[in-house]
């Protein structure tokens, strides 16, 4: 096990650098780079990483994102606003580079939605790493609320190292009004139900993405982040 570099919880300043960090991780780099594109929840993602002893840095520099050894691609808010920012800053292409390099990548919420080809929120094109679309969640039952907000059961559809700790009745935290609709069922790793059953975790090879928020899902969510930090980028 590499020695972990402790960072003070809640540090206000941005951690700068990969070069020092790299020296601490000569063979097995656990440092997580978080893509900073003003999409909101990256601080809570970093706090969750701090809590489980994972060093995480956030950056809005596309070159540094492109060189990441391990990447979290977060997001809350509006998909089109997020995508426009990713395009104008070059960060979207930087994320694509990391995916192509085969490094472990974790998308969260809007970050997961933009993994697909398009989103109805806007509408906007997505980054298109996986075939499929993000669609508006429509539920017929008037007692079911939109957004889908709160704790819901996650059903694992096929084994994945990042979900291996989940038990059948475990619940994770969601807040969203659009849902993931990947074209290939082989890309669906977990589903949940809110009026209808839909995908809440998808992935392929070194890419994994969740509609739920691991950083707000208590100990089960923290465990997922810890697993991501140790993941070799292979789906099984």
């Amino acid at each position: 096990m590499p020695t972990l570099v402790a960072r003070p919880a809640g540090a206000r300043e941005r951690a700068v650098s990969g070069s020092n960090a790299k020296a601490c991780y000569p063979t097995h780099n656990r440092v997580i780079t978080i893509v900073d594109y003003n999409a909101g929840n990256l601080r809570s993602v970093k706090r969750a990483c701090d809590a489980v002893g994972i060093e995480a840095i956030f950056t809005h520099d596309p070159d540094r994102v492109a060189r990441a050894e391990r990447l979290i691609f977060p997001g809350v808010g509006h998909a089109k606003t997020a995508m426009d920012t990713l395009v104008s800053t070059g960060l979207g292409e930087a994320v694509r580079t990391v995916v192509k390099r085969g490094m472990p990548v974790l998308g969260i919420c809007v970050g997961a939605q933009l993994v697909l080809e398009s989103s109805e929120e806007g509408p906007t094109p997505g980054l298109g790493f996986l075939p499929g679309h993000t669609r508006l969640l429509r539920v017929a039952d008037p007692e079911l609320k939109i957004p889908h907000m709160g704790w819901n059961n996650v059903r694992v559809e096929q084994p994945h190292p990042l979900l291996a700790h989940l038990q059948p009745h475990d619940e994770l935290y969601f807040v969203h009004s659009y849902y993931l609709d990947p074209a290939n069922s082989a890309d669906v790793y977990a589903t949940t139900e809110h009026g209808t059953r839909f995908c809440c975790a998808l992935g392929k090879d070194n890419l994994f993405a969740t509609q739920f928020h691991p950083e707000k899902s208590g100990k089960l969510g923290l465990a997922l982040l810890d697993r991501f930090a140790r993941w070799d980028g292979k789906p099984c």
């Binding site: 809640g10 909101g40 601080r43 969750a48 957004p147 704790w151 707000k216 208590g218």
Partner: protein, 258 residues
């Protein structure tokens, strides 16, 4: 299927738990961070801090509390009290609050809801409303009126109309706090909660009156609430969050127990 949520509310003044809340485990008296952590470890679904700091110059203390809590608990938590401008909401979000509650300032300036929702997203914008039962009249057809300043000032605004308007302006969730029931520990205002919950599409949190586990059961079933806010019944040590969850699950309410 979504679980019904149990949300604990802590009143904070000048960065400390308000004196009105007397805790049994004395070592935690005054420290909202320790109390938050205890509830988190006990399986709480969500947390609300209500800042009742009177002087504006001490408001920064709340941001420190929020930062400390955000570093230690990994469930959603919201902060309310004294949010008057978009800047108040964005600084609370940056400090680590998942959601921000607006109340009095939104009544005085409804567009504040829209501005906050634009800045931090509807999913993070919560309208908290204090409601008083009144006689049905032309201006208050529902028989429930919005009050502000902790219930001291009538507004002439109908609670049902206000809930619908707040939703249209971008509130992603509504806390319905019954001034009549608040502090009685005799149960939530079921009729009011159900009326609002049925009128809006966003989740509704029932607040005020919780004293027994049956009260949570009533408001989460008959009252159509998505979540129940608890305060003194857990603060005083009469019930633990886990015991409330066991009770609700035993009566068939879908509740998170992982």
């Amino acid at each position: 299927m979504l679980s019904k949520r149990i949300i604990a509310c802590l009143d904070v003044r000048d960065g400390k738990l308000a004196k009105s809340v007397k805790f049994v485990d004395t070592k935690d008296i005054g420290d909202p961070v320790a109390k938050a952590k205890q509830y988190y470890e006990g399986g709480l679904d969500e947390l609300v801090f209500y800042d009742i700091t009177a002087s504006s110059d001490k408001r920064a203390i709340m941001l420190d509390v929020v930062e400390q809590v955000a570093a230690q608990i990994f469930i959603p938590f919201s902060v309310g009290g004294g949010v008057r401008a978009v800047e108040d909401a964005t600084s609370l979000r940056l400090a680590g609050a998942e959601k921000v509650n607006v109340n009095t300032a939104a009544v005085q300036d409804p567009e504040l809801i829209a501005r906050v929702a634009t800045a931090i997203g509807s999913q993070s914008t919560v309208l908290s409303m204090d409601v008083l039962r009144v006689a049905v009249s032309g201006s208050i057809p529902s028989g429930y009126e919005i009050v502000i300043h902790g219930g001291r000032t009538h507004t002439g605004i109908d609670a049902l109309a206000w809930a619908r308007k707040a939703e249209a302006l971008g509130a992603g969730e509504i806390v319905v706090n019954s001034i009549d029931a608040d502090g009685t520990r005799e149960g939530y205002e079921i009729k009011l909660t159900r009326m609002i919950a049925d009128a809006v599409r966003v989740p509704v949190i029932a607040s005020g009156g919780a004293g027994k586990p049956e009260h949570l059961y009533e408001v989460l079933t008959e009252g159509h609430a998505d979540a129940a806010l608890v305060a003194s019944m857990v603060h005083y040590g009469d019930y633990t969050v886990a015991a409330l969850k066991d009770y609700l699950a035993g009566r068939g309410v879908k509740i998170r127990r992982s």
